[in-house]
Each structure stands twice: as C-alpha cells, then as structure tokens.
C-alpha cells in the first residue's frame, strides 16, 4: 500500500465511566490497524495531550472525533464545541453520548439534590461545613476555578451537531470494528456513510436473539432476574416473566445479555422507528402483562400487577432519559430555572 498521509483521530470522554475507552482497546490487534492509518491527537484517558494543543489546531483539522459520555457540566460542553469545530466528523460513541446513558438517570434530580446526597447525606460523608464544588473560590490569594455542574444532563447531539452514532454500553467489539472500518475507508478513499448513520442493526434485538418465543405472549407476573430459580436457556426471557426490553431495542449487540440469561436493559437505544424508548417498552409490557383473563381482573388486581414493576422510569428509560420526549423529571423547586 502506498504510504498515504495519516488521518487525525481524537477521542474524548465526558460524563462517562470510561468503559467506552476500555472497549476501544478490546478490539485487540485491530487497534494496530487504527494507528497504522491514523494519528491520535487527543485521548485524555490514555495519552498526554493538552486541550491547548487541540485549541491551537485549525478548524476541521481533525478528521474523526469519537466522543463518549454525556454532557453534564460546562467543561464537557466547551470541549464538545471545540472538538466539533476542529473535527470533520463527530461520532457519538457509546450510549451516554448517544442517549444520555446511565449518567443521564441523574435527570431525576437537580444539582442541589445531587450535591445534598453526595456531599452531605450519605452515611460515609463527614462534611459539617457542607463544602460543595463551586465554580470559583479563593485559596491563599489564588483564584481556583471548576467547571459548572448543571441541573440537567444532555446528550451530545443536544449540544453539537453529530454525524454518526455508535450505541452500546459499551459498544461491542464488532460494532467498534465496523466504526474502524468506516474510518479506514475514509482514510483510503475519503468516502463516508450518510449523515446520521447508526453503526448497529436497523432491526430490533429480538431479530438476532436465539431464544424461542411463544406463539402468543401472556405474562401473569413480572419477575426480576434473581427471583427466577431456574431460567430456561432456550425460551424467550419475556415469556418467562422477566422484563426484557429487547423488542423495542436496537439490535447489533449480538444479544450478548440474553445469551447469558440476562434480560435486555436497552443500552443500544430505541430502533429507528421509535421516538421514545421508555414509552415503547411501557406499551409493550402493558400489552402482554395480565392478558390472560383480562376481563375478570379488577382495577385493584391491575394496580397490583403494574406496581410489580419496580421503578418504571428507571427501568424503561435506563439508558435514554435525556433523549426521551420529556428529557427530565420536573422538580417543583426548580420550576423557574
């Protein structure tokens, strides 16, 4: 292969656990293909580049930016905007950047409530003066600054324009390899897939799940995975009463959770046709739960059945609260903000 000029690649992490960065390394020797065709210019978790190095670069001088993590404070937003300006292609990498992910569940609370719990109320916290992070404070005549913590977690595409999405918590190796393939093709030919492409299956998880499903679904009760003594490894988890979100969730992960007897929690986000992941799952569950003898069920029995699903919001919107229709929980004290 003729020696071509290498493309420039940036990685960034915002509100995330770091799992996406680790998953990037899970592609093992394929990572060598990446460094063969690309120079990495920013990767806070693995390499020592400074923001000011990137700042000094001209607009659109980075080819591809893989951004993982939700946008939760002013630093995340600042860097996201900077990287957008410097990058030709912005990729939301991982569920947090795509939909808000687990950090997005913080949208059930606001900053005040989060600080109260984290810096005051937890039993292991000793903080009598209630010292909390502030954007500015003076220590021995020096001004120290911190990014501003927000009330609401946002997704990457609510902050900047996003070209591609690689969902998953973290994205599976095969999908990362697909993304690497896109990068390699771009380095080779300069060609890119259409904007808005999601690097995953267009079908739901059920399409690739090997479990057998019943002809007609009837759920009498919802169990949590640990409450079922013996999970049949061949039968659909939903048919066994375990709340599996697969039917409303995008495939492409290879059904790695159902394959090990764990229900789908929806980390790949909704399929292309679904606008609100949680509402779709709710609708699906309500359709099959309590179907048998529905005529004779009293309102009280239905209440019991339904209340058997613990924490509806946290279950249905586990990975997608910031990208849902309502985006966050309303808090009365927060009203004027």
């Amino acid at each position: 292969m003729a020696k071509k000029e290498k493309i420039k690649l940036a990685f960034y992490w915002a509100a995330t656990c770091g799992g996406c960065d680790v998953a990037t390394l899970d592609i093992e020797e394929s990572i060598l293909d990446v460094v063969n065709i690309a120079d990495i210019v920013l990767w806070p978790v693995a390499m020592d580049f400074k923001y000011k190095d990137v700042e000094a670069m001209g607009p659109k001088s980075i080819d591809i930016c893989l951004f993982n993590g939700a946008v939760r404070n002013s630093e995340h937003e600042e860097i996201a905007k900077m990287l957008r300006e410097k990058s030709k292609v912005m990729v939301a990498f991982g569920s947090c950047a795509c939909f808000g992910g687990i950090p997005g569940l913080a949208n059930v609370a606001n900053r005040e409530q989060i600080f109260n719990v984290a810096y005051k109320e937890t039993p292991s916290t000793v903080n009598p003066e209630f010292v909390i992070p502030m954007t500015e404070c003076e220590v021995r005549g020096e001004k120290l600054t911190l990014p501003e913590f927000w009330d609401t977690v946002k997704t990457l595409d609510q902050t900047v324009d996003v070209d591609y999405y690689v969902p998953g918590c973290p994205p599976v190796v095969d999908r990362i390899k697909d993304a690497v393939g896109i990068i390699a093709k771009y380095a080779e030919t300069g060609e890119l897939p259409p904007k808005g492409t999601v690097v995953a299956s267009d079908k739901s998880l059920c399409d690739e799940c090997p479990r057998e499903r019943a002809e007609e679904r009837k759920l009498k009760w919802i169990y949590r995975p640990h409450e079922v003594k013996e999970v049949d490894p061949n039968k659909c988890l939903l048919d066994q009463g375990i709340l599996c979100m697969g039917s409303a969730t995008r495939g492409g992960c290879g059904a790695r959770c159902p394959n090990v007897n764990m229900p789908c929690r929806g980390c790949m986000g909704p399929t292309a046709e679904i606008k609100d992941h949680g509402a779709a799952v709710l609708s699906m569950i309500a359709s099959v739960l309590g179907l048998e003898g529905e005529e004779s069920l009293s309102d009280k029995e239905i209440e019991e059945l339904v209340s058997n699903i613990k924490d509806q919001l946290g279950t249905f919107y586990r990975f997608t609260l910031p990208s849902s229709l309502l985006k966050r929980v309303i808090i009365k004290a927060n009203r004027e903000k």
Binding site: D276, L282, S283, A286, I302, D311, L325, V329, R335
Partner: protein, 142 residues
C-alpha cells in the same frame, strides 16, 4: 396567575364507537360542558399509546382524558382492557416524571351516555383547575 383565571387545556382521546358518539350525543342534546377539552377521535382507546400522552403533556396539555367503551363493550373485543393496563402503568410513570397522575384519566363512556360525557368533562376540568397548570408547560416555555 390567579387560580380562577386559569383555563386548563385538556386533550381528550375518544374512541370512535362509544365515547366519541357519546360526545356527539352530548352536543346534539345540548348538554353544557366546559370548552377546555379538545377532542381527538381514535378508533379505539387501545390505540392510545403512552407516547401520545407524554407528547400531549410535553407540548402543553394540563390534563389528558382517554374515553373508551365500557368493559365488555369494546368494538374490537379487548382494546379497552389493554387501555386500562396501559393507562394505569402510564399514570405511575407520570408520577415519577413529576406530573400528577390525576392529570391523566380513563373513563368508560358509551354512545348513549351524553349526559355522563358532559359530567365527566365538567368534573375533570374542575379537578385540573384545582391542580393548576402542569409544571412541564412552564418548563418547556422557559
């Protein structure tokens, strides 16, 4: 805003076969009810997805009324049973989102119950007035 000045916006989903016909009867019979309700005809109360309800609140509704056939009377046999389970679950979800579950109501109103339709709308409007504006609205506006 003064509570007496507050005119809630209520969205009504009415099934084609019972509640919508009931509303029609209320109109033909000239039963009076508050003008706060805006009706959308759906073929069945079982057609009302949770997404419709969430969207109604997101774009400024203060209350959502879903009307269907009485149990056993569904034109499609079982659509209203499905609606019953969905609405119950949606109510709980709304509660977690910080929207009072009372803002969502499911009522069975048959085609012959024009009077009852007027009563339900009057009562629901009164209840929503007492609850005040849905906080979500002030949030999306601001």
């Amino acid at each position: 805003m003064n509570k007496d000045d507050f005119e809630p916006k209520i969205l009504g989903f009415a099934c084609n076969w019972c509640t919508y016909a009931g509303a029609d009867l209320a109109g033909v019979s000239r039963f009076q009810y508050p003008p706060n309700i805006r009706m959308i005809r759906v073929m069945c109360s079982g057609r009302v997805e949770p997404l419709f309800i969430l969207k109604a609140f997101a774009i400024g509704a203060d209350g959502v009324l879903v009307g269907g056939c009485h149990p056993g009377d569904c034109h499609y046999m079982k659509g209203n049973y499905k609606a019953r389970r969905r609405i119950e679950l949606t109510k709980r979800l709304l509660g977690q989102f910080g929207i009072e579950p009372e803002r969502l109501r499911l009522e069975w109103i048959s085609a012959s119950e024009g009077k009852r339709f007027a009563e339900v709308v009057t009562d629901f409007t009164k209840e929503i007035k007492e609850l005040g504006p849905c906080l979500l609205k002030s949030k999306t506006e601001g």
